[in-house]
Amino acid sequence: MTVLESAINLVDAGLLAQLLLGALAILAAVVAPSRLRSLLAGAPIVCAGIAAAATGTAALLGGVGTGLRIPVALPLTVPLEPLLLAPDQLGGLFMALAGVVVALAALFGIGYAHGPAASRTGWTAFAVFAVGMQLVPAAADAVTFLLAWELMAGGSTVLLLADHATREPVRRATIWYAVMTHLSFLFLLAGFGVLTAAAGGTSWATMAAASVAGPAASLAFVLLIAGFATKAGLVPVHVWLPQAHPEAPSHMSAAMSAAMVKMGVYGILLLILRLLPDGPRWWSIVLIALGAGSALYGILQASVQADLKKLLAYSTTENIGLITTAIGVGLLLRDAGQNGVADVALVAALLLAVSHAAFKSVLFLGAGSVLHATGERDLDLLGGLAARMPWTSVTFGIGALGAAALPVTSGFVAEWALLQSLIHVDARADRLIAIVIPITMGVVALTVGLGLLTFVKAYGIGFLARPRTQAAAEAHEAGPAMRVAMVLGAVLVVGLGLVPGPLAQALAGAVSAGGVSTTGGAGLLLSTVDVVLNPVALTLLTLGILIPLVAMNAVLARRHPRRDVDLAWGCGGERISPRMEYNATSYSEPLVRVFRSSLQASQLVDVVRHDQSPLLVEQMTFTQATGDVIEDRLYLPATRWAGRLGDLARTVQNGSIHRYVGFSFAALVLVLVLVAL
């Protein structure tokens, strides 16, 4: 059967279109002249993203294709089944999500990419990464899945290396990323191996039908969760994320953070909902513990970062943690027979995933725009950008509102659904639930609170007040392509927040959840727990209050117009130097004090005294450093041991030709002896 023979329906056509557009993008990247390369290679990728969004939406809404079969003609003795791409509803959701993010990122990239990121390799890698990522959720068997997974991993690694020639941290970040990615792949390979052996086939359908249980299922669960958690950036395998996200080109960071880590989430959902739906109870506890730990650790680290992109990266760990927690709660409740509330939790997980994709794209694109304009991503050196970059400032602000889960954004709707699912649990019957749910609630609440602080800091320090450096003072607004991408993303953040009803209804299909419906055109009604959320009505009420207030303010302003003065009060004197402003480090100082031990914070105050009198101080320097406990305690010892092993291996491999010949000789003799026996 060839590609062309497959019946042409929307889903199949969409899949085919993505492949073709990806190929076109690669072609354009290779042949186009460097001046036009970004436009010519970026445009097909944008189109591929849109195609994925359309295909995914069709699949999510129940469109089923016959599947796209790609015959494999490898000269192997074992005949390989044709690769099968056939997204189900869940896959469709994640494909649409990836598609939208890719389209936004590529659009931004057209205006943003410069230097190595805009080279032939750069755009080719981006195209490979994008198409690979879009096809991961479409795969209908393990081999196709792993292939698409590797395309995604390979493409992103190459693009991550873009700036390696000029910046040292890039090399370090890429090594971390490459190692962790391959670790993830190995775990997945082993996990799917176990499943395939137990089920007798590689396709999802075979695995689901075999209903594997017992030790084999648990082994597969542990291996696959380890693999997916690494991709998703959950603690303690998150270490690549805060290194790779800041160093990648910003459109790439957006795509990685908003979409690629979601593939880990997709994997977890695929595993527990479709492949191994009847797992024992401890699986859900594992997921809740992983998720809650990641959420708290991630946001705690994010709240003290001064590097804008690193802050966003840690916040990704937090959000994935919340998603995993919601999945775990859903699983636990399904196990306890509370299906109505379990459905709400699973829908909340998907809402969190979708809203995170929307606001994190905007935030990373905004950070990219700032980086593009000032060359800085250290908040301590920014400031005053709101007046200089109004578009970036407003869109970043909307993204930050979404990340802080404030109304009316998609982030608010998602967190609302999660909290509703938690408080409607009937825990009286079950002691385990009665202990787990309040703790989860406490963790989620603290996460929400710290998230608020984090994004007030990111926005307030970066965009308000006065510029702290010359670079920030000379910032300029982003170009049209970048602006359009950011505005579209911001529209998504608010739009999804305004119409949660239809969105949640569509998402409910992906996890076959009942009791989710639309009320009043846009509102969300969760009938199993009997709660309603109608952001449109809330907005109307707000407008009802806001309009008279603004009118009154305007009347007062007409009578007593605002007066411009030369200087703000500033404690009785002029604000002489922007160095006196609070910066990101000082902003989070109280928090560092509170959580000193978990953050491994160290502070150093260096005082230079005057020669004549020790009472006079000439200069003071304050340095504050916070560390990643997990990196220091877990990975550094591990790498040290690996290094020692490597040293041991040196004694065997010392570069002497004679020794190598000797090895070959010994091997030959050994084989001969073995054959003879």
Partner: protein, 219 residues
């Protein structure tokens, strides 16, 4: 006594016990801790009265009255007196951060709830439903003994532990093991009086009442 009222009274008195215990962990003031002991004594007496009257025992008034006198008047008074004599009104020598202490207290309470279920089996009467509060009092008392340094707060923790044991025994036995409880209460009273004197001596001899400093054994 109607069943609803009974349930409500049990809930209120045990709730008061738990609240007073948490507030004790929360604060650093010794005077306030002693004041909270008074509250606990009153709540315990109320609990005894409720359980006793529900079981139809006339002696409940006697026991409750005695508990009230001993736990809410005599013991706090004796402790307050020694605290005044040595002039120590605040705890200074706690060994962990207050926030950690509080979170630990929450964890212990959760543990108490978790283990009480299996211990109680499937009894469903309101009295035994409140047993976890007694267990948490015992655990919180131990917790205070563990993390606090000053001899007087140690004493407070010890009394909290004793209150917990008393609450458990009243709640589970239904009736009143009058003699046993009275014996135990008087023992504790004796301990408190002796320790009260000891603390004053300690302050006089050592100049502090931090028991973590007392390491060496004399022969």
């Amino acid at each position: 006594m109607s069943n609803d009222l009974y349930q409500q009274l049990i809930a209120t008195t045990t709730g008061l016990l738990l609240l007073a215990a948490v507030l004790q962990i929360w604060g650093r003031s010794i005077v306030r801790a002693i004041g909270l002991l008074v509250v606990q004594g009153i709540a315990l007496a109320g609990l005894v009265l409720t359980v006793g009257l529900h079981a139809g025992e006339g002696s409940a008034f006697l026991v409750a009255g005695l508990l009230l006198v001993v736990k809410a008047v005599v013991m706090p008074w004796a402790m307050l007196r020694s605290a005044r004599m040595i002039g120590v009104t605040r705890e200074h020598s706690a060994r962990v951060k207050p926030a950690v202490e509080l979170i630990g207290a929450a964890g212990l309470t959760l543990l108490a709830y978790a283990v009480s279920g299996p211990i109680l089996g499937n009894r469903t009467d309101p009295a035994s439903q409140a047993v976890p509060v007694g267990v948490s009092l015992v655990l919180l008392g131990f917790w205070q003994l563990l993390v606090r340094g000053s001899a007087i707060t140690q004493l407070v923790g010890f009394l909290m532990l004793d209150n917990g044991i008393a609450a458990i025994s009243f709640l589970t036995s239904g009736g009143l093991p009058l003699v046993v409880e009275l014996g135990a209460t008087l023992d504790v009273l004796l301990v408190v009086l002796i320790l009260g004197v000891l603390v004053v001596r300690l302050q006089a001899e050592q100049g502090h009442i931090d028991i973590s400093e007392l390491r060496e054994l004399h022969d």
